[in-house]
Symmetry: C2
Subunit: 432 residues, 2 copies
Amino acid sequence: MPLRLSTADPRFEDGFRGLLHAKRETAEDLNAAVADILADVRARGDAAVLDYTKRWDRLDLTADTLRVTAAEVDAAVSACDPATLDALHLAAARIEDFHRRQVPDRQDYVDAAGVRLGARWTPVGAVGIYVPGGTAAYPSSVLMNAIPAKVAGVPRIAMVVPSPDGVLNPLVLAAARASGVTEIYRIGGAQAVGALAYGTETIAPVDKITGPGNAYVAAAKRQVFGTVGIDMIAGPSEILVVADGQNDPAWIAADLLSQAEHDTSAQSILITDDAAFADAVARAVELHLQTLPRTEIAGQSWAEHGAIILVDSLSQAVPLVDRLAPEHLELAVADPDALAAEIRNAGAIFLGRYTPEAIGDYVAGPNHVLPTARSARFSSGLNVLDFMKRTTLVGCTPDSLRAIGPAAVTLAEAEGLGAHALSVAIRLGQGT
Amino acid sequence: MPLRLSTADPRFEDGFRGLLHAKRETAEDLNAAVADILADVRARGDAAVLDYTKRWDRLDLTADTLRVTAAEVDAAVSACDPATLDALHLAAARIEDFHRRQVPDRQDYVDAAGVRLGARWTPVGAVGIYVPGGTAAYPSSVLMNAIPAKVAGVPRIAMVVPSPDGVLNPLVLAAARASGVTEIYRIGGAQAVGALAYGTETIAPVDKITGPGNAYVAAAKRQVFGTVGIDMIAGPSEILVVADGQNDPAWIAADLLSQAEHDTSAQSILITDDAAFADAVARAVELHLQTLPRTEIAGQSWAEHGAIILVDSLSQAVPLVDRLAPEHLELAVADPDALAAEIRNAGAIFLGRYTPEAIGDYVAGPNHVLPTARSARFSSGLNVLDFMKRTTLVGCTPDSLRAIGPAAVTLAEAEGLGAHALSVAIRLGQGT
């Protein structure tokens, strides 16, 4: 049974803190094993990657067959159901449209002192996208990682996807084509992360690696950080639904289960001001679980990590939401905007009764890679800026250096940095 | 003597690679010691912080004296030289003006399918700024870390600064006041990072920690990452000057030394197309070193990590710059804009002969916290967005859900996620 809490209960704060700080992941310590794999890939390049792929994916490749050919992608696309391809292309177009609006402008101006100032954004030179294989092969994840990179103008987008026993998901390859991936390698695990970070004879190194993976992949990303950039390390998925009693309990129950079915570590929380509605949702969850395909995963997640929190009024929900800082926040209430305006911490907000979170996983347009584990307090979902970097610009003339330079000399001297002071003073005609 | 390379030399590529991959820092392994300190602060709160402060800063504090009082800040400001305060306030005003232009707009629109989409930015709730004490107490660093947070609208900016033997730099306190810091604690080291991340009886926890520190501080920031956000872990400072033969060698030599004086691990590189100029700069460096106050540090940095690279033409410099991806790039050439347009990787670019890098350390306006160790390939300097987070917004009506929902159902089914499909289908009047 999921946790039940009520703000009317004097022990509420203890229960809520327990929910807030409950660990949902067992951190396996794979650091030493992963360090060995990375060092091996760095030292032996392709040969190491091929060895690990043979051992773990039971796949005998050569340097020539590491890369998926254009003909293979053609064949995969042809093998896809046309209606599914249409849905994929609709999703890709909507994601691209939303992300195009994130491309920042260059700034370039001369201020009152005559100093030229600005900032320009340039795309990262090459990006690696990690895509899980096997059962967790999600074409939507390819779109969400690759399209922002493409929109940013990244010239090289290299995708790695393991193909255990040689099997690749055709829709994953179709998604790669639809989202501007420029090269695909049939490898995975820490060895694929190492190949992207350090490069091999066949795979040129990239500057940044994004995308979800298992514990080996997460550990490898942490270890190569610095050599390359990485995106966040995603934790288990979460949804928080704030709903009044005017919703159909079966709808809200489906929303809660749409997170729960991801993973037994996923978390679904309902906050409502209506006790009878809370009970109705709990019953509807049990009903849905009788018919859904991933009932075992969803049922376990709901029982172990799910929660229903009863509040006196929905405004009481606001500080609880901010403390939970959920990845996904659904506001199934009459005036979602009024409630959203009071909330500070959430990765994405789904407004109103007709906006199930799953619409954002696929076709709404915003990115579905969002901050988990309360990190929405300080971080944002994946976006175009993650695939660009900003260079600031300063240009002084003799006059403008004369206007602001003396203050720099004063501060440099106060900090005891004589060469800093000298580099300005010497241009002002002052020896030191 | 600094390294000398020439692209005309057939062994140039080997030498350049050596420069590119040379390690400039000895990574001390402090992880276990730092983990113990953090665990102790988490368990014992103030008591642990007070114990470590007594041991390492030789300072006997109580919970009541941890915090620097407003009266102490008043007294510190009064103790500062008025001309230095003026320079500090000029710098603060210019930094604030530049950063105000980075505040992003909210997006909110309805697309062709009738779906409401958007993104809003909100400030991080509380930020901790780490400021080194002792000899490396830089008021400019306070301005550069705190002002972007203030401009972002962060309501709580808590600064920690160690005061060994009770000594605090008055100008650091004046900088804190000038840049909107809301509370100051006289503590440092891993214990201060732990106090900010986990909170103690006296210090409320923050959501993000920024600012430079020693190896203990860097290790502590890495370890608390996830509990809170952190900025980048800064490496030794770097400058790359691209200069033609029309510069005054003494000016360029001063610029190279302005990085070298930071730290024996700092790096200064000159790229020029004029061999005689290269020699003149090398001589000017030696001359300056005879008079500068930090000559030992600067001399060692220049001898061990400095480099002069001779190219046939300045356009040959472009790919070298992109591979070095310098923190600071000075373009002391006749047409700096033409050269800048070809370069992709640099933290900040200083345009023309009258723009010494040091002007950007203090008063130009852009941030001086910039990506080091080649990370300008994938990351940017500190800016207002680092103190805000983005929440995406989606809102469907019954009609717009009908327009895009079926594609979501199709993709959810293709991924085998039945509850995802159900949560959309049920709102379209389809059971499943």
